[in-house]
Each structure stands twice: as C-alpha cells, then as structure tokens.
C-alpha cells in the first residue's frame, strides 16, 4: 500500500529539511522524499497537502489515559482518538492507573488495548516504585521488556532522595529515562493553586514555586551523582527552568517539558473558581509564564507535552478545593502552540517540530520516530498554520470535557494525522460544525 503526501511543505529538522517535497509512504514506512513535480508513483493514493506543513508525527510525552481502572474518565481508545484529533501520532501513557502500571502485566494490557484502538501509538510509562508509593522499586527491567519507554511516579513524586537515588542508579542499567513530577509535598500540602497574590486574594491555599524548584534541584544533583537520564515533567517555574539551564550547561543528562496551559494561562484565570483551571503544577504567575516563554525560545525546554488529565464532569463540579487536579489537553495543545508560540514569534516551525516530535523521540529513545527519514515509521502530522478554528469541548473525542479552553478560537491547527501510513484523522470542518450545533 502506497500513500503520496503531495505538494506539502516538509519540515524535518533531523534531515535539515525545510521546503516543498512529496512524501512517499509504503507499507507503514517512509519510502522516499521526492520533488513536487516528480509525479505520482503507480498505485499510490494521494493526499493533497497543498498549503500545508508536513512534519514527523507529534509525540506527547505525558498523557493520562486512565485505563485500566478509571474508564469512566477515559479509555485507551478514546484517549488515542483524542490524540490523533489533536495531531499526536504517539502518546506516552502515565502509570497512575488503577492498578498502577508497576508490573509487566499492566504494561502488556495497555499495549494490547492500544493495538485494538488502532489510532495513536501508545507507549506506556512504568512506575518508579511499587504502587507509586515511593518505597520499593518497581520491576523496571521486566516492564522495559514488556514495552515501557520510561519510568515515573507522576503525581506522587518520590519523596525520599535515597529512594530516588537508587531508582536512578537502577534505571540506568536498562537505559530508562526517569521522569519526575517535581513537587516537594511538604511545601504544597493542602495547596490547590499557585501561591502568590491570587491565592491570597482568593483565600485558596497555594503551591509555592519553590516546591518545584527544590525537587528539580534535588533531581539534578542526583542525575549528576548517578549519571542517569532525568526528564523533568511539566516544568512551570522560573527557578526550575534556571536549574535545568545550568544542568545543561554542565553537560548533565537532564531534559524537560512544558505544557500548553502553562505557557498560555496565568494564575489570575482561577479568579472565578472555575475548577477547569485547577491542575498540578498549578497555573503560575506572569513571571513564571515569561520564564517559560524565554526557555522555549532559548532551547532550555526540550518538549511540549499535554499532561492530558481527563476527569468526569461530576468530579470537577465540586468546590474548588475539593475538585481533582487536571485538565484535558490533547486536542488543544497544537492550536495553543501556534497561537502563543509560533504566531507570536517565540519559536519557528522547525523548533515547534523539535519540541513536539524530534526531541520527545530522542528523550524516550523511540527508534525511527520523530523523523521522516526513509525507513522511519510513517507517523506524520499535517498542519495548517493559518487555519482559524474554535475548539468545542462538546465535540471532543475525549470522554471528558474538563478544559479551560472550551470555545477558544485559535489560528493554526493539526488537519490530518497519519499513523504507520494510515490516515487516522482528518479535520472535517463541516462535521465539526454540525457536531457543535446546539
């Protein structure tokens, strides 16, 4: 089976490509990159990408798919559908399911469910410690063999520096990156938003920025001690970013990601107590948002990840301090990246592709992904930087609707998603419009 993505504008930083090319896909792999006027190979279907950007498939390093255990929030199938609708060809599933993905049986279950869903690729992330309790190491070697690409106790960060040190030393033996959600819980206890002017004003307990910075500093020191690969998830503070910048200058194996909501919204968004502004780490104040923008521009930040965290409407319809942390993000991330980063000149298209595809593939060692070199998996994200559209939560492919971006109009959108050579999503404006009509 052949597919020609014709007349598009190809951006692939791994090949220094930034210009008009046709992309030929054969049997789920990239077969060739040829000139626009090279003609259609015999038997090939054609996807006309005139006026569109063709990029290596986007990889979300940080997704909560909720299955097994919380299928009322999301399933692997609905999450994978939401992913491809948002331009992500691959997602990395965080282990805080029920049961926790701390053993190869759960890992294999996730992979099998994902194969059945036939949408995005799903790469499971295993737990660092058993049941993510921060005490005993989980079976990293066995999970690695079953298919995990990294380990993390996301949401329940390992509190003990001693356990974290052992985890890093042990993970190094399997070449597994260790992903940490940096939060010193002794500083954030009871907190529900960023600690600052707005938390004082609203009478809500705060998470001080320092809680993230201190844990980041600990992890970086441990990365230096152990030589392990450390990836800091959803970094949101100036201090943690400065720590990552210094670590990189010293050549440590430390990388980090940021989420679209942290580069788009400030803590002031909490002012009406909308629980769809509640997530962890919380929306920060302007100085932190500005630091994120700077770090995206100067290369300190390696990746954009969604931290897609679906919750049922009933769970979010509680008092602000009672509602769970987290918002969905798969379908809004790329639009927000265009709006806040590309169209405002923070990053160019090449850098956007690095942040969403090339670097995630490198950090999690996803072979033959994050590139359109011949022989690579034919995972392709097709973008229209000028497309103006309005996100409707009611039309989301996710099971959940917990987003602060409902009804937001954005310029720039993923318009088609190809996974292993198969067109799994195509934006159809008439269908979207019909679905969102009351």
């Amino acid at each position: 089976m052949k597919l020609l993505i014709a007349n598009g504008y190809l951006i692939d930083p791994t090949q220094g490509l930034n210009g008009g090319k046709n992309l030929l896909i054969e049997d789920g792999r990239v077969a060739a990159l040829v000139a626009h006027n090279d003609g259609v190979p015999e038997g090939a279907e054609v996807f006309d990408a005139t006026g569109l950007v063709v990029a290596p498939g986007f990889i979300d390093m940080h997704t909560h798919l909720r299955e097994p255990g919380q299928e009322y929030k999301e399933t692997i199938e609905t999450g994978a559908q939401a992913a491809v609708a948002g331009g992500w060809t691959s997602v990395c599933a965080m282990p805080n399911t029920d049961p926790v993905n701390d053993n190869p049986a759960v890992t294999r279950f996730i992979i099998e469910q994902a194969e059945r869903a036939r949408a995005a690729n799903v790469f499971p992330v295993g737990a660092i410690t058993k049941n993510s309790e921060g005490v005993e190491l989980a079976e990293m070697g066995e999970m690695r063999r079953a298919g995990v690409v990294a380990v993390s106790d996301d949401g329940r960060p390992v509190p003990s520096a001693g356990v974290m040190r052992r985890a890093l030393e042990y993970a190094r033996g399997f070449d597994l990156p260790v992903v940490d959600h940096c939060e010193d819980r002794s500083l954030t206890a009871g907190g529900v938003m960023h600690e600052g002017n707005w938390s004082l004003r609203l009478g809500l307990r705060g998470h001080p920025a320092l809680a993230e910075e201190m844990d980041a500093l600990r992890d970086i020191a441990l990365a230096e001690l152990t030589g392990a690969r450390v990836h800091l998830a959803h970094v949101s503070t100036r201090g943690a970013l400065a720590a990552v910048r210094r670590a990189k200058e010293r050549g440590l194996n430390v990388t980090c990601e940021v989420t679209p909501h942290h580069f788009t919204l400030e803590d002031e968004a909490v002012r009406d107590y909308d629980t769809n502004t509640k997530m962890c780490p919380p929306l920060r104040s302007r100085e932190h948002l500005e630091a994120i923008i700077e770090a995206l521009a100067d290369g300190t930040i390696d990746a954009i990840a969604t931290d897609h965290a679906p919750h049922h409407a009933d769970e979010k319809a509680l008092e602000y301090d009672q509602a769970p942390f987290g918002i969905t993000g798969l379908e809004t991330a790329v639009g927000l990246a265009f709006e806040r980063l590309v169209h405002r000149g923070v990053v160019g298209l090449e850098r956007l592709v690095e942040l969403c595809s090339v670097n995630p593939a490198k950090i999690f060692s996803l072979a033959n992904r994050g590139t359109l070199r011949p022989g690579a998996h034919a995972d392709v994200t097709i973008l229209d930087p000028e497309h103006v559209w309005t996100f409707k939560a009611s039309a989301s492919k996710s099971k959940s609707r917990n987003t602060p971006f409902d009804n937001r109009t954005m310029r720039g959108a993923p318009v088609a998603t190809i996974v292993s050579g198969r067109l799994v999503y195509r934006r159809d404006e008439t269908a979207v419009a019909a679905a969102s009509r009351p």
């Binding site: 206890a189 009871g190 600052g196 002017n197 004082l200 004003r201 609203l202 009478g203 809500l204 009406d272 107590y273 009933d314 319809a317 509680l318 008092e319 602000y320 301090d321 009672q322």
Partner: protein, 372 residues
C-alpha cells in the same frame, strides 16, 4: 438604587459608593430595630434560605432575624442536618433548593468560591456569609458601620488588624473595604500567619504588613483582633496557645500604644485569654457587642438592596402615613427625587402593625414583580 451585582459575593467587587450606600441604608434599618415593633413588610412574600455548612451563631441568627424583620420567610439549613450527610454535592443541594424558588440563598461554606459556584447556577440572589478563607462581606460592612458610628468616618483612620490573617476571610474583606474607604491598614501577627505578599492585595499603598504587633498598633484608631482559627490550621503555625497569648495577644499594655480613644473590635467568637485578654474584650473601648447589633442592620440593608431597594432617608422612618398621594415611584430608581422615592420607601418601611398598608403593599408587589 440597588447594587450593581445581583449577588453579594465579596467586598472586592463593590465600589466605594456602593459600600457607603449599604452603610447608609443600614443606619436606617438600625433605627427600625430600636422601635417597639421591629418588623416591616418590605420583603413580604420573599423567601430567604440560610444554607450553612459551617458552625455559626452570630451570622446565621443575624441573617435569620434580618429576613424576619423584613417579613421574608426564612429557612435555615445546616450541613449536619441536610442531605450533604448523605453525600449530596453542593451544586445538587443548590439545584434542589432552587427548584423551590427562593429569592435569596445565604451561604456559608468552608470552601472558598462556593458562593460563586452557586451564583453561576441560581436565579436567586446569592449572599456570601463566609467562604473558606476568602471573604465575609457582611462582617466587613458591619465593622465599617461600627467604626463610622464611633469615629464619624473611615477615611484616614489607622486600623490595625492583628492575628491569624492568613486564614481569615474577615481580614480579607476588611482589607478591601477599609482601603476602598481610604483607611490606612496595618496587619500584624506571627510570620507564619501574615505573609508579606498581603501588601499587594490592594493597590494604592494603604495596606502594609508590620513586622511587629506593637508597630501595627502604634497610633491606631481602631484595633481589630482576629480569632485563632484552629479548625483551618492543619499544621502548627505557632508553637503553643500560651506562647501566642504572650507574644501576639491583645492586652491592655499593648493597647496603650494605640490612640487614647482607640476602639477595639473582634468578629467573634473570641478565644478569651488567647488573642484577646478579657479586660480588653470587656473594657470600655470594646465594641464587640455593637458589632453584633450592627450586623443585623447591615444584613437587613443587604437583603433590601439586593431585592432592588431604593435610597432611604429619615422620612422613611416616619410611622405616620405620608401626606402626598404620589406613591408610584419605582423604589429601585436611584435618581428619583427624594420626595417621591421617600414616599414609596416609607410605605415599605411602615411597621406591619401600623395597618392600612394593603394598597401600598399591592403596589410594591406589582413594582417588584420584575425584579428577579
């Protein structure tokens, strides 16, 4: 003139003119509470639901009496006797109450923002009677009323607020209100309970965090003492109550640093011997019981104004029938000349026992039929 918002969620949303208007209106209602017959028909036919998810003596009683003295039907629901104990969510409780068409829901809740969530889904006017550590607007209004009565003004007064500022909704509402009316506010207490960032809460530099309690009290015209909220502190913010009393409690010696005619206030309930010494609490400068009396007047004024009340003046307190026959003025029209508006409002404030009000009552109902 009513208030710009249909709800009273906090002081931060009010303008200084609206605050003064509530205080002026409350003065009028205070006079009613001093009459032999303390009931007026103003809110007859209206329903007030007091929805209390936290313990309260003063505020709940005060709202209940305020509603009753305005002839509204008042109902009290407390969390311990409601379906909340069966697992019903706040919003479901609110939707069910809303289905019975109340005109006002007065809510106290341990979570900041709970009244805002209600206001989004309710047709009734929502009054915040204290939400977590966020705001307690009627407390700040009654505090301001008390200050005005004793100092004649709020502007340019020096007010010290001392104690557990971090967990205090009373402090937050007072910071907004007092600075909006031009007072200079100093905060003081243990460093764990008084973050320096409070200074940024209001613009204009009229709010500062003092490093020591004596510094905040120095030269103060008003000293407000806050309760130690042990129920909101899940960790130790200070070593012991004994130490707190010695270092941060208001006693006569500390009070001597204030102006000689300084007044002392406390929102209650007091922890005697901890944040306030009994000789201060019961002393001649203490206005703690005046605060309670004023609370009733303020809550009557808030209910009245949210129902669309008009400007009041002294004529309205007359118990005799007004002489002019022009009683058609819309009580909500703030710009209406005083003579006509006072007539209609006077009818509203006629004591129930004065009789002969059927016609005026009828008009009032017609006039307010569109106000929800």
């Amino acid at each position: 003139m009513g208030l710009a918002s249909k709800h009273l969620l906090g002081i931060s949303e009010l303008t200084s003119a609206e605050i003064v208007h509530v205080l002026d209106t409350a003065e009028t209602f205070r006079a009613i509470s001093q009459r032999e017959i303390k009931k007026v028909p103003t809110l007859r036919g209206r329903t007030v639901i007091n929805l209390f998810f936290e313990a309260s003596t003063r505020t709940r009683t005060s709202f209940e009496l305020a509603g009753k003295r305005l002839s509204a039907d008042t109902i009290n629901i407390s969390a311990s006797t409601s379906s909340v104990t069966k697992g019903e969510t706040l919003l479901d409780t609110a939707r069910n109450l809303e289905a019975m068409s109340p005109d006002f829901i007065v809510i106290r809740h341990p979570s900041a923002g709970a009244p805002h969530a209600l206001a989004r889904i309710c047709r009734a006017a929502v009054i915040n009677a204290g939400d977590g550590a966020h705001e307690h607007p009627t407390q700040a209004l009654l505090d301001a009323m008390t200050i005005r009565q004793h100092k004649g003004r709020v502007e340019n007064l020096r007010v010290a607020i001392i104690g557990d500022i971090l967990h205090s909704r009373v402090a937050r509402s007072n910071m907004h209100l007092l600075t909006k009316l031009g007072a200079q506010v100093s905060l003081a207490g243990p460093g764990t309970l008084v973050p320096a960032e409070f200074e940024e809460l209001v613009a204009g530099g009229n709010l500062r965090v003092a490093s020591r309690i004596e510094e905040a009290i120095e030269g103060a015209d008003v000293v407000m003492v806050l309760r130690i909220q042990r129920e909101r502190q899940d960790a130790a913010f200070f070593p012991s109550l004994r130490e707190y009393a010695v270092h941060y409690g208001l006693n006569l010696k500390r009070l001597s640093g204030a102006q000689p005619d300084a007044i002392v206030m406390h929102p209650g309930p007091m922890n005697r011997g901890i944040e306030i010494a009994s000789d201060v609490a019961d002393g001649s400068r203490s206005l703690i019981l005046d605060q309670v009396s004023n609370g009733l007047a303020v809550r009557m004024a808030v209910l009245y104004l949210l129902a669309g009340g008009s400007v009041l003046n002294q004529n309205m307190l007359s118990q005799t029938k007004p002489e002019t026959a022009n009683t058609t003025a819309d009580p909500r029209a703030g710009a209406t000349p005083a003579v006509t508006s006072s007539n209609s409002a006077a009818e509203q404030l006629e004591p129930v026992a004065a009789g002969g009000q059927a016609g005026a009552e009828q008009k009032r109902r017609v006039k307010t039929a569109d106000s929800n």
